[in-house]
């Protein structure tokens, strides 16, 4: 039966040029379905990768209890002092605890792509902040001087927004600042931010000595438990303590989920449409070759061989469509930069990311469409009545 199947399959495939229009239509429709699915996957993965990033497990993030996000949180200077004295806080070489009280406000920037305004975070940080961001390095220029109106700008901001070049004067609010450095953190969330000295920000925005969040480096990942206990026992502290990893993971949620809740149902709906199309194509294929198939059967080829021949034709069209869609998606989507609203009302800049896993998902979807679409027609081919040899 194997040899028969191969023979029938080759006959089937060789006759595709007679049905070229319909076959091409099927390939393209499946390719489109795969491309749409992979577009959404690339979006969601890219967004998630940026936001979840490489959150470290030995950095603790402190927010006011129940606030869930920095913007909603508020801590006093006393809170920061108490944290500095807590257990498990790592110290720099000179003994100062690696702790950074931070606060951010939302400012406007002009997106290069749309020339419209969009929100950006202007974060006030202490001088220890670079030690609390994995992979932080100044790629151009220098860090801002404390107490000055200087800014350092994340590489993503530079990419997506205009007017933040090195040396540019930037007007935010009522003040003019100067960009003195560009920093990179390997593509994580921090790169979508603009930093300055926290003292300057507190002053300008009348926050007194209050901050929104505190980041601290721990002596070890396990030390976070001791810190949690410490905070729980201390009546003056009303805080939520999480590792940076946990904090990022919870922030990624929203938008990434939204993209997936939209993307998968859409892709499946389109897949059903493509499936109807594939079925139609295979049905027509069998139909137009009824006499041919009957002749083969009259000669002695088995019904099973006819079944296999049709299934292979269907899966092959689907595979070509799937690979085409995946290839086009990779070329078109991978790496393109985009930005959208993150959980803190600011723009998150991310890159579309076409992962190998997404490609597998896409091609798998194509194969399923090819399989289901070809199944009934293949059975029909196996059961073509021999008398059809006389069909005109």
């Amino acid at each position: 039966m194997f040899k028969q199947s191969i023979a029938v399959t080759m006959l089937n495939l060789r006759s595709i040029p007679q049905r070229l229009g319909l076959s091409l239509a099927t390939i393209f429709s499946i390719a489109l379905v795969v491309a749409v699915l992979m577009g959404f996957l690339a979006m969601a993965n890219g967004f998630r990768a940026t936001v979840a990033g490489a959150g470290e497990d030995d950095i603790a993030v402190f927010l006011r209890a129940g606030s869930q996000a920095e913007l909603n949180s508020g801590l006093s200077r006393d809170d920061v002092r108490l944290i500095e004295e807590g257990p498990g806080i790592a110290a720099a070489a000179d003994g100062t605890p690696i702790v950074s009280g931070e606060l951010y406000v939302i400012v406007d920037g002009i997106k290069r792509s749309s020339q419209t305004e969009a929100n950006l975070p202007l974060r006030g940080v202490s001088m220890q902040a670079p030690q609390l961001r994995a992979g932080f390095e100044i790629v151009e220029g220098r860090m801002f001087a404390p107490g000055s109106g200087e800014l350092v700008v994340g590489a993503s901001v530079l990419r997506e927004f205009q007017g933040f070049e090195l040396g540019d004067p930037v007007r935010l609010g009522t003040n003019t600042w100067t960009v003195v450095g560009i920093f990179s953190t390997g593509g994580s969330l921090a790169e979508s931010e603009i930093w300055t000295d926290i003292g300057v920000l507190q002053n300008l925005y009348q926050r007194g000595s209050g901050v929104q969040s505190v980041r601290a480096r721990l002596t070890s990942p396990e030390a976070i438990e001791a810190m949690r206990t410490f905070v729980a026992d201390e009546p003056r502290l009303n805080l939520d303590v999480s590792s940076e990893q946990e904090y990022f993971a919870s922030s990624a949620g929203g938008t990434s989920d939204l993209i997936m809740y939209l993307g998968w149902p859409l892709a499946i709906a389109m897949a059903i449409g493509a499936l109807a199309g594939a079925w139609n194509t295979m049905y027509s294929s069998v139909d137009t070759r009824t006499r041919e198939i009957a002749t083969l059967r009259a000669i002695g080829f088995s019904g099973g061989a006819a079944f296999v021949g049709t299934m292979v034709e269907s899966m092959m069209l689907a595979a070509i469509g799937g690979l085409l869609g995946a290839g086009v998606s990779y070329l078109m989507f991978n790496g393109i930069s985009a930005s959208t609203l993150g959980s803190g009302f600011t723009q998150v800049v991310f890159s579309f990311s076409v992962t190998p896993r997404a490609v597998i998902n896409g091609v798998a979807l194509a194969m399923i469409v090819g399989f289901v679409g070809g199944f009934i027609p293949a059975i029909r081919a196996a059961r073509v009545p021999l008398l059809s040899v006389h069909n005109g």
Partner: protein, 385 residues
């Protein structure tokens, strides 16, 4: 029997094929209808904006507050019929996950600014006169099963009271609704004074102001004058029309319209290809039959019309079913998404556009088969014995 019968028979000659094509078309219009409805409602903020309403926010960003004193000063600007203010409370009920959109407002001027908010007269009076009153939007009242007379504590994500807690107690004395489905009723309002006097920090500030001008034609002038009042101060303002403000906010999400158009475009390109090639094939199969019709005396024009009608009929059936399904989907999701997307329905604009697309699809997929049918030469077709 008549031409309609012939058209119907022609279309359903191979039932399975007709059904498969209809499924493809149905899916495309299901996607179009659902996405169209969601997008229209998503951007409705721009539609329900009043032409003579302006929003004034801190120039830095709408999340930064402005001094309370600004309210009195804006009232003096010529052309301002009414000015109100509101501030974001960041509220939740019992647990942080029970998010409640809450605004601290000046009740009288706020209701004047938004005449589309309706409630019974006695509730309106109660809201104006009771300091601890919480006016609750209809959708929210349903969601949390609140009723008039309930005493509700609302907690704030952001603000703290002098006594250290973040919980304000309110009495529900009014339930309001919008006069149209698209006007949101998924938030609560309370007296600014009651909220402000307990604030531990950031007191005597407001979030944004709502300005009603006497006529839309003076919007620009009024806006500029307001902003001029506060130029070069520590809190400069930016005034824009409500529509522009909503649009700007939506644009932050990115070019959603582009993504939707691409997806819908891909879906339609797909069915165009599939249905188009299949219809050409289907007519090809009937070459002999069409030749016989010609011998009987059916002229080319009539045959052209009949073949084109088949495509249009196919498109209409598939499209109407798809649109119907989309409407069901939207109706079902409306209740679940009331908090996020108020007034979710299938807009007439989407329905009309869909009908036009169905017609267009039918014509495009039918034109080549129809032309082919007219070009069939009787002698050649019948000669294939």
């Amino acid at each position: 029997m008549n031409d309609a019968t012939l058209i119907r028979k022609g279309l359903f000659r191979k039932k399975l094929r007709a059904i498969l094509l209809m499924v493809s078309i149905m899916i495309a219009f299901l996607i179009f209808g659902a996405l169209g409805a969601f997008y229209t409602v998503f951007t409705a903020g721009v539609d329900v904006a009043a032409a003579n309403r302006l929003i004034t926010v801190n120039r830095i960003n709408f999340t930064v507050s402005m001094p309370f004193a600004y309210w009195g000063r804006v009232q003096q600007v010529d052309g301002v019929e009414n000015v109100s203010h509101a501030s974001w409370f960041g509220g939740y009920y019992q647990e942080p996950r029970n998010f409640v959109q809450s605004f601290a407002v000046d009740p009288e001027s706020y209701l004047a600014a938004y005449p589309e908010l309706v409630m019974p007269d006695e509730q309106r009076a109660a809201f104006l006169n009771t300091r601890t009153c919480l006016a609750v939007g209809d959708d929210l009242a349903t969601q949390y099963a609140w009723s008039l007379g309930d005493r509700i504590p609302l907690l704030s994500n952001i603000w703290q009271k002098t006594d250290g807690s973040s919980s304000w107690e309110f009495d529900i004395c009014a339930i309001f609704d919008g006069d149209e489905a698209a006007v949101p009723a998924n938030y609560v309002m309370f007296h600014y004074e009651y909220y402000n006097e307990a604030l531990a920090f950031n007191s005597n500030q407001l979030g944004w102001m709502i300005v009603n001008t006497t006529d839309p034609s003076i919007n620009d002038r009024v806006g500029r004058e307001i902003d001029a009042l506060f130029a070069n101060s520590s809190a400069e303002t930016e005034t824009s029309t409500e529509a522009a403000f909503s649009r700007a906010f939506l644009e932050q999400y990115g070019n959603i319209a582009l993504v939707l158009v691409l997806v819908v475009g891909a879906a339609f390109a797909t069915i165009l290809m599939i249905v188009g090639t299949t219809m050409v094939m289907a007519i090809n199969e009937r070459t002999k039959e069409i030749a016989v019709m010609k011998t009987l005396g059916f002229n080319e024009g009539r045959i052209f019309r009949m073949v084109l009608s088949e495509s249009i009929l196919l498109s209409l059936i598939g499209g109407l079913i798809g649109l119907g399904l989309a409407s069901l989907l939207v109706a079902g999701a409306a209740a679940a998404l009331a908090g996020f997307l108020p007034g979710l329905t299938m807009p007439m604009s989407v329905v009309l556009t869909a009908l036009a697309l169905m017609l267009g699809l039918g014509i495009i997929t039918g034109i080549i088969p129809a032309i082919n049918a007219t070009r069939i030469r009787i002698v050649e077709a019948l000669g294939k014995n």
